[in-house]
């Protein structure tokens, strides 16, 4: 009997051992809920390493802060709250002081103006709570006139290292600058930094211009002009402001052009005999290929980032809806099924989303959906929102918003793809039809 009991006891202990061992491991918890709020950061004035650079150090810090805070993902801790002062770029960072003001990231930098007039900017990014540097320090060299671009490049680096995705601050936007009353509005092409600075006009206002579109490399712009009385497509070299008209058949109207990702092909709409279809043109040879052949109106084409597909707008079902077809033409499939009218679809640079304009119940919206039409989400709502364009990183959308009434004016707005951070882009006057260019080299 005793033997029996001992054996039973041994068996029980062997059976219970795994449970005991499991309980002795680390405590395990799962975090599934967090918060979404701007990350607090500090960017003290960059240290001026010579007298000529002191003012520049302050200006650089202000532009960097404007870029980062403007995303809605970051919140600057104002300089008045800083405990530590950065007086030397090489001095060790007093993390405790920055933790005390709840800064999670710290950007320090120094700037010097060399004898040749070159501007040298170096900077570092710190994870304050981890007490360590985020990546290595970097240095940019440029001209003094280009100091804003250097600041944008620093901000792009900060954005990229913290969020893990590319920035969009060192980029430009081409748009239609508008002036005058609504019934006699003058329009001309203009180009500016993404934040509205450094505006340059590319055309005069002698003729109506529409829908400028950047080339993938940002060196050329396609646009539609009524210079001849009919809409014709022009291609403009940004550096020289030289332009030429793309060849089309007589008696036709061509409009809504957009570059293919290779930069050599253009897809556009052509109206002939009252019917509008999509065509593709090789810019070098000027040869066009017909992509659609339907009695309905096909327009507003946009290539996928890999150049294999085209998303466009068609009213073949009775109301304007969004369709996708192969880049060489072929059967199209409809992807928009909601109530209302859909138009001006634009493929995201990431390839995962399509931005569009939607008109429903008397209001206009900018929205996004997956490339199969699922997960549609409306980001804005107003009297008139239209013409979305993507930031180079696919995170932000810029569009035109026009206010109601005789005094109504068109302005540019931007919004995060989550629907947050809707804000107006600063322009000197009226502005419409934006096209966001790529990151500059």
């Amino acid at each position: 009997m005793m033997r029996y009991m001992m054996s039973l006891l041994a068996a029980l202990m062997i059976w219970a051992l795994p449970a005991i061992a499991q309980d002795s491991g680390p405590l395990r918890i799962e975090i599934t809920e967090g918060v979404i709020e701007p990350m607090p950061y500090a960017v003290p004035d960059f240290v001026g390493e010579n007298a000529a650079a002191t003012e520049m150090g302050r200006n650089l810090a202000r532009v960097i802060a404007s870029d980062l805070s403007g995303t809605g993902l970051f919140r600057e801790i104002p300089a008045e709250a800083h405990i530590s002062r950065i007086t030397s770029f090489e001095s060790p960072v007093q993390y405790a002081d920055w933790r005390a003001v709840k800064a999670q990231a710290l950007i320090t930098g120094a700037v010097s103006v060399e004898g040749s007039g070159r501007l040298v900017v170096k900077f570092r990014i710190y994870d304050v709570f981890a007490g360590q540097e985020l990546g290595n320090g970097l240095q940019f060299v440029g001209t003094q006139d280009g100091w804003r671009r250097i600041a944008h490049k620093v901000a792009d680096q900060v954005y990229s290292r913290i969020t893990g995705e590319g920035g969009y601050f060192d980029s430009r936007v081409v748009y239609v600058a508008e002036s005058g009353p609504k019934d006699q509005r003058a329009k001309r092409l203009a180009i500016m930094d993404y934040d509205g600075a450094n505006v340059q006009y590319l055309t005069d206002s002698s003729s109506l211009v529409l829908a400028p579109r950047f080339s993938p490399s940002g060196d050329r712009v396609l646009y539609t002009s009524y210079e001849t009385g009919f809409p014709r497509i022009y291609v403009l070299d940004v550096a020289s402001v030289g332009r030429r008209v793309l060849p089309t058949m007589d008696g036709t109207m061509s409009f809504a052009p957009r570059f293919a990702p290779d930069g050599r092909t253009v897809v556009y709409s052509l109206t002939q005999g009252g019917n509008t279809d999509l065509y593709q043109m090789d810019i070098g040879s000027g040869e066009s290929t017909r992509l659609t052949n339907a009695p309905s109106i096909e327009t507003a084409p946009s290539y996928s980032p890999d150049g294999r597909q085209i998303v466009f707008e068609s009213d073949r079902s009775g109301t304007p809806q969004i369709y996708i077809m192969p880049a060489g033409g072929g059967e199209a499939r409809r992807i928009s099924f909601g109530q209302g009218r859909y138009g001006t679809p634009v493929w995201s640079p990431r390839g995962d989303l399509i931005a569009f304009t939607k008109q429903s119940k008397g209001r206009f919206h900018i929205g996004v959906m997956r490339t199969d039409g699922s997960e549609e989400r409306l980001l804005t709502a107003s009297f008139l929102d239209e013409g979305p364009t993507w930031a180079p990183n696919g995170r932000v959308i810029m569009f035109t918003r026009e206010t109601q009434g005789a005094q109504g004016q068109a302005r540019l707005y931007s919004v995060d793809i989550s629907g947050r951070n809707l804000k107006q882009v600063q322009t000197s006057g009226g502005a419409s039809d934006p096209s966001w260019g790529p990151l500059q080299n």
Partner: protein
């Protein structure tokens, strides 16, 4: 009343004869009469009027009663009370008239200080009553109209706020400092002996539970997004006689009734088992953390887990982070490490880990609220940061 005995008698007669029947009949009658009397069959109903008790009073008694209402006759023979004992101190008497109670009479000569003007800045005047002389207008009954019942009930929309958190927080007062915890304002009390350190009132930052876009109007009941018809789920195929996957059989345990069990072998097994247990369980002692204690830790960390600045790929990445804790409840910063990551590339995992590390350090800065007596159970913690729920916000 007669039917009962008559029937009873008939039955008895037919069965047992006259005498027996009479006896039974008599007994039955007696029982019935007894039940009727005692059982309350003949209880009278209560009278339908109220009964008032009256008492007859004689002429003398009436006169005596009337005399009590006049003054009593003076009685000359009164018992004199005994004087107090000489040892007792006589109470001091005062001949002064009692002072009349202070009446709250207003002094016309003395001008009372005017009452301080009430602070009416916080008082909103009542809205003037709307009085209309017009006769009330009868409401015209609405015509019967068919109303489409929305398929979805309108959900209360959260107010837009720049911060998205698991729990909605009202916007704090403009002058209130934003802090992780809410605390009332402390001002020095002049009357108190010890003056408390003054401190500002604090309140948590305003937060909504999800992102509300401009297009998502609060009153909107119908869904704004197009809902595509779902494809019918595939009919489950008949499972071919698949043999169930063989589950690993537990190791054969020693047969308890094996007659050949050796005491030495048992001892060896026990020693081995105990040895393993000592190796693997080393420190933990006492009860493990309760569910509430684990929840408190989880809530404390998620309060600081900010995914707002993460890329969409990092928001698809789940990271498991290991951390060693000091007995004070503070994380050992150098020990925070990524144990594993899934769902994204290396760059995304790095961003996700850094956000998780910031959460642990920030909210553990003052030490997590963990029971010291159970330190052995939370010395090492593995936290899985799963952003799946955060992607749709």
């Amino acid at each position: 009343m007669l039917a009962g005995p008559r029937l009873t008698g008939r039955a008895a007669r037919g069965a047992t004869g006259v005498n027996t029947g009479q006896i039974i009949s008599g007994a039955g009658h007696l029982a019935l009469i007894g039940w009727a009397l005692i059982g309350g069959v003949f209880q009278s109903a209560p009278p339908p009027f109220e009964v008032v008790q009256a008492t007859a009073v004689s002429e003398e008694e009436f006169a005596a009663i009337m005399d009590r209402q006049s003054a009593p006759d003076a009685v000359a023979d009164v018992d004199t009370p005994e004087p107090p004992a000489p040892g007792e101190a006589a109470p001091s008497l005062s001949s002064e008239a009692d002072t009349p109670p202070e009446a709250a009479q207003p002094d016309a000569n003395e001008a009372s200080p005017p009452d301080p003007a009430p602070d009416v800045s916080q008082i909103t005047p009542p809205a003037p009553a709307e009085v209309e002389d017009a006769p009330p207008v009868m409401e015209v009954p609405q015509e019967d109209t068919a109303v489409m019942v929305p398929e979805v009930s309108p959900r209360p929309q959260p107010r837009p706020a720049p911060r998205v958190a698991p729990e909605a927080v009202e916007r704090p007062e403009p002058d209130v400092r934003v802090d992780d915890v809410a605390s009332p304002e402390v001002t020095p009390d002049e009357g108190a002996e010890s003056v408390e350190e003054p401190s500002e009132a604090t309140a948590p930052e305003e937060a909504a539970t999800e992102i509300v876009t401009e297009a998502e109007e609060p009153a909107q009941a119908a869904p704004s997004a197009s809902v595509r018809p779902r494809s019918r789920p595939a009919r489950p195929e008949a499972v071919a006689e698949a043999t169930p996957e063989e589950t690993p059989q537990p190791e054969a345990t020693p047969e308890p009734e094996t007659p050949a069990t050796d005491q030495g072998a048992v001892n060896d097994a026990l020693a081995a088992a105990l040895g393993e247990a000592q190796q693997s369980t080393e420190a933990p002692s006492g009860p493990p953390l309760t569910g509430g204690e684990k929840d408190a830790l989880r809530v404390a960390v998620q309060r600081c887990w900010n995914v707002g600045s993460l890329s969409s790929e990092a928001l698809r990445t789940t990271v498991v982070v290991g951390v060693q804790m000091a007995e004070s409840g503070k994380p050992e910063i150098g020990s925070i490490r990524m144990l594993s990551a899934s769902g994204g590339g290396d760059a995304a995992a790095k961003q996700a880990f850094e956000a998780a590390r910031r959460a642990i350090i920030r909210c553990g800065n003052d030490g997590f609220d963990l029971p010291v007596e159970k330190y052995d159970h939370w010395r090492d913690i593995e936290m899985t940061f799963n952003p799946e729920n955060m992607r749709i916000k």
